[in-house]
Symmetry: C2
Subunit: 358 residues, 2 copies
């Protein structure tokens, strides 16, 4: 087991990465104060719920099973968690456990932030995307029909436990979607990691356990350092949203769940590469190199054909990164170098949208 | 205008109390960063919305009107606020303004805590209850069918502006309900204020402006000092819940809105007096003195006849003050003296429930 620590000053918690962690008695329950409520979904429950409850041993626990999918990440489904907690008289000293992917993690975290104005929660991510990104850093929330993750809270977990074994049951599409967030770290901040990913992409796609654990650890390290420097996203943390402003527009416009988050991010990074190239920030070779890695993940490098420039602008105008009416973008200055800007030449953005929407 | 400051270390904000404040140009807009969204309800909108929008002058602003009443304080109605914000592309730099009573304030505050993971908000309370209690201290949230205020956040406003003139349109029942929270401060912490209330109750019921402003200022001062010492209610802040554990059970069991919050608190304080007397903490004279002041406010001193002891226990077991399964109560040691306890003789609680539910 490897541990990455995340230290936020007011709060410090471990990200534990390894094999067989779910089954390890005591590992989970040491983070539970009193009673535990495991929140999972209908796909994950048959695979890992019994194991998780067994590993909790004598810790009093219950569970609630949500329907699976991004389209259920809303306030209505969130209410199911509150109803389960209240029906069983869970009080403020309880701990929620998010067993599943990014949707389960985001919803459980927001439920924990909101239940009785705040209780503890543990992330037990079972998808690559959740292990490398969404379970770390305390962003929680649900979608609104008019925008992704528009309702939520910053609420840090007390621990993240990433069991590599759970990736064995991940389908290939979900695996590739997770890789979108992995390569993102290379793009924005770490050229060495980007090169390592170029060298190890075949191993990652073949689910090599050592390569995967390395990618997860490095991703968590990068995210931990970025979040430590800027928990509330007043600055640097926004870099983690490379490709997400375009991506969120795709997800919302296509109807949540039709494009996986990582697929939309893949296309979004391709679009960010295009805008960066048009602005003269990167040369054609760098753009090509970036596109090649996205393609090797098996991810789309363009949005769906039905998207128009107007649709993009409409959703992008609602993005949380909008500030004073300007659409802020994460732009690349090279592989491993990026910055946030609202003061770029907006013609480049319009040219990108025109290019990708025919 | 009088100003009470509340200093939470990480955050300091003013509570401004006086007449004609809504109309005062610049008073409100100085606290707005960018764009403002006024949230109000269908009763308050015809009375004060135009004035409020006019006072905002050149500040870009919109409004959303919720249905009036505690029965609408839920996640479904909260979504209306998010929809209004997203439809008009409000970004993270916006400011929500809660124009109304406790329900509007709690919902607007929670919407501000949750929209894009947190934006600013201003409290503009128009009921006595909101001016003396709910608008101060940062508790925000909505009800769940299974319990009051069970979903929410601690989120402090950037300012509270209590315009005494708005109390002119308050009906008598709402005025009396507000007095429940005023006398609460005397009961728990301030014997001198309790005596002042005994001397000035007729003036308060007659809506004497000077007496009312004094009561509002003193209530806000007491609340500010308690919240400063314990923002997240790990200890002393729980004193502010005198009568509320019983009261919340009444409100939830009767259906939200049938008993006003203050009415339920009045009956709840009467019940807390009874339990305190049974435990030998206060003598009969003190209990009588307490009951008399509740009665003079025109508030009930007993729960509705349909409540059973089992109903009370069922709802009280879900109260946020429950800790490790024990029902914590605020008990009185005298007028102006109180403490929180889960370690009292529970027979006294059961005797109180038996006494009040026949």
């Amino acid at each position: 087991m490897q541990t990455v620590s995340i230290d936020l000053g007011h709060r410090r918690y471990p990200i534990q990465i390894g094999s067989g962690l779910i089954d390890q008695r005591g590992l989970l329950s040491q983070h539970v104060r009193d009673r535990a409520m495991v929140v999972t979904n209908s796909t994950i429950a048959p695979l890992y719920l019994d194991q998780t409850l067994a590993a909790l041993g004598n810790t009093p626990c219950s569970s609630v099973i949500l329907p699976d999918g991004e389209s259920f990440k809303n306030l209505d489904e969130l209410t199911r968690i509150f109803t389960a907690l209240l029906s069983e008289n869970f009080d403020r000293s309880c701990t929620l456990i998010a067993l599943g992917g990014g949707v389960v993690g985001d919803m459980t975290g927001y439920a924990a932030a909101s239940y009785q104005r705040g209780v503890d929660f543990i992330q037990l991510p079972t998808t690559l995307l959740a292990q490398v990104d969404s379970s770390v850093g305390g962003k929680t929330g649900v979608n609104h029909a008019l925008g992704k993750n528009m309702i939520g809270a910053f609420h840090q977990p007390v621990a993240v436990i990433a069991d590599m074994d759970t990736l064995a049951t991940l389908d290939n599409r979900e695996l590739r979607a997770g890789l979108a967030e992995v390569i993102k770290y290379g793009f924005i901040i770490d050229a060495d990691f980007f090169s390592w990913l170029e060298d190890n992409m075949d191993a990652l796609l073949a689910r090599d356990v050592v390569a995967t654990a390395t990618a997860v650890r490095r991703s968590c390290e990068i995210k931990a350092r970025v979040v430590e420097a800027d928990e509330r996203e007043h600055g640097r943390r926004a870099l983690l949203n490379l490709g997400h402003t375009f991506g969120h527009a795709i997800e919302a416009a296509m109807g949540y769940g039709n494009w996986l988050h990582g697929e939309a991010v893949g296309a979004g990074i391709a679009m960010a590469l295009d805008t960066s190239a048009r602005l003269g920030l990167i040369d054609e070779r760098t753009q090509e190199r970036g596109l090649r890695l996205i393609e090797r993940c098996g991810l789309p490098t363009a949005p769906p054909a039905t998207m128009t420039a107007d649709t993009f602008l409409q959703y992008m105008a609602r993005d949380k990164k909008v500030s004073g009416g300007n659409i802020r973008l994460i732009l690349l200055d090279g592989i491993g170098q990026s910055h946030v800007s609202a003061n770029y030449n907006h013609d480049a953005l319009h040219a990108t949208l025109a290019h990708f929407t025919a």
